[in-house]
Symmetry: C2
Subunit: 188 residues, 2 copies
């Protein structure tokens, strides 16, 4: 009996946590094997491309999750206030209120970012576009909408870095609360 697709998704979820916790280089096959309960043989059966394929598929899975839960709702919304609030709630949920780190950011800053550069770039670009679109629809000029969206993305990433660096997840919560107000504040 073939392994259902849903189980591969669960496997990718576990892999994602290992990559988040240890970085791409730090996530050794031994750690991955331990976290998934799968031997190296099984891992290479699922991912003939080895560690790089594992990380690439994890990034794809993350992209899929954000597309469904963040990007699409943003694009489809005609109520910017609700859309922004929903985005921040989903983001807070996804990053466990600052206790979970962003794998895309980890890869972006990490040593082996080149193989994943296109995926990283796309993730940020699509988020940026989706958020800017809803802000523009709410009456902001295209340039203000794009500038504010960029600010939102970098605030989320920076809050995760600072929260981890100071080992204080509350930093993330404060940043998200202020971001919400800032994103929809009247234009100057």
């Amino acid at each position: 009996m073939a392994k259902p697709v849903s189980e591969r998704a669960e496997l990718l979820l576990l892999l994602g946590e290992v990559f988040r916790a240890h970085g791409y280089e730090g996530a050794t096959l031994a750690l991955i094997s331990e976290a998934t309960g799968l031997g190296k043989g099984s891992l290479y059966h699922f991912f003939p491309g080895g560690k790089q394929q594992m990380a690439a598929e994890v990034l794809d899975e993350i992209d899929r999750w954000f597309e469904i839960n963040i990007f699409a709702p943003l694009r489809d919304s005609d109520d910017p206030g609700r859309a922004v609030a929903a985005m921040i709630e989903a983001v807070d949920d996804y990053f466990r209120s600052g206790r979970r780190v962003c794998l895309v950011g980890v890869i972006a800053l990490g040593a082996s970012r080149e193989p994943f550069a296109a995926q990283v770039h796309d993730y940020f670009a699509r988020w940026h576009d989706a958020l800017a679109a809803v802000l523009k629809r709410s009456g902001f000029s295209a340039s203000v909408a794009r500038r504010r969206s960029e600010d939102a993305l970098l605030t989320i990433q920076g809050a995760l870095v600072l929260a981890r660096g100071r080992d204080d997840a509350k930093i993330f919560g404060r940043a998200m609360a202020e971001l919400k107000a800032r994103l929809l504040a009247p234009s100057r």
Copy 2:
């Protein structure tokens, strides 16, 4: 003739660039050897504690640089407008307008952050304190001063992550320009 201290500082500068470019794990002794022109024997002569000592001393050197060029001027200033402008200029210079990454942030997000957790925490805490002090002196309440300073730190870190992730250094410049205005804007 003993090697002057100034040359060790230059060595730490080179080491810092290797760690920034490749991360802690990715900075192999081979790469370090190539970048410094020193064989492994010499490297272990200078750093008996190996790679971990190298990174720890690089972080110390970074801390010293920020203390002199950023933290102290912030603390000593009685003109918040000038102090903030000078800080942002120094930061823009240090991070090469977004083309250079923050090693402290890289370590904070990286796999081997534990050995350096105290240094990372201190770097952010001292910056936070120094910036909040100058804002408070300019008339903001203690809580507004601290919240805005936290926002400044996370904006810098996030801008560096996003600039690298999207491979667009201009993101950093835009973020710094807006940060300057936001830091000193009248309190709501």
